[in-house]
Amino acid sequence: MEQLHHLDQTITPDDVDTLRHQLEAAIVAVGGDPEAAADMILALNEALVNSVRHGYQGQPGWLRLEIWRDGRSLIVKQYDAAPPFDPTAVPPPDTTLPLALRPLGGMGIHMMRHFTDDLHYAQTTNGYNELTLVKHNAFT
């Protein structure tokens, strides 16, 4: 596996847009397929928003992002120090319910799953959340 990019920073909700653009540019700059990069960024956006809005409750918090290449696969690892939360354990929403009868929201994790090929959660030995997003065939 080859690490393509990483960052360690304090993040607030206002940083998500900039971060998203920065990461997409980094993936495309190393030859990532633009469509795969767009899917990954959409999934990662949901992960970032979950972390800053729900995990850190809108307060500044520590975030580490690593972008890796493994053959033709693009792998993004997101670490935060928010309270433990495993998004892969959240059941999918019932999308067959009529819109008029549905609760608002609940689509973020569903989108994360859809726009990646694999999604893994772990807790690091020091208690951080580690979320791994994988997109296959992202490099030619």
Binding site: D17, R20, A38, D39, L42, N45, E46, V49, T95, T96, L97, P98, L99, A100, L101, R102, L104, G105, M107, G108, H110, M111, H114
Partner: protein, 129 residues
Amino acid sequence: MEIAISQANGRFPIKIFHLTGDFLDEETLVAQAASAVASGDRYILLDLKKVRSIGSAGLRGLHRVFQLLQEAGNADHEAVKKGILAGTYTTPYLKLLSPSKNAVQALHLAGYDMYLDIYTNQKTAVNSF
């Protein structure tokens, strides 16, 4: 995301919201829609041709605008209920124009495409209200 607003007249006056950018926040759209509804508008066409992708917050924004317009409109609740049960109901108040492939994917993933009519031609869309 930016929103430019224009007006068209079909059978009713229609507000057309032309969205540009990634649709990843809900407040911009909901604020504009609430303002239009407060001014008496009841029909909104969302022009999505310059929207590359829709995130969960964008979907939530669409849902909130759907609710706003349903509440403001004079929907025949019995007909709505029957249509929902028969799986044939689409809202007469909110329609979508020219979503990108990625946007269609998000709408389909959320199941919103069952309740929101999607058009590829503005004139046809306006005349469908």
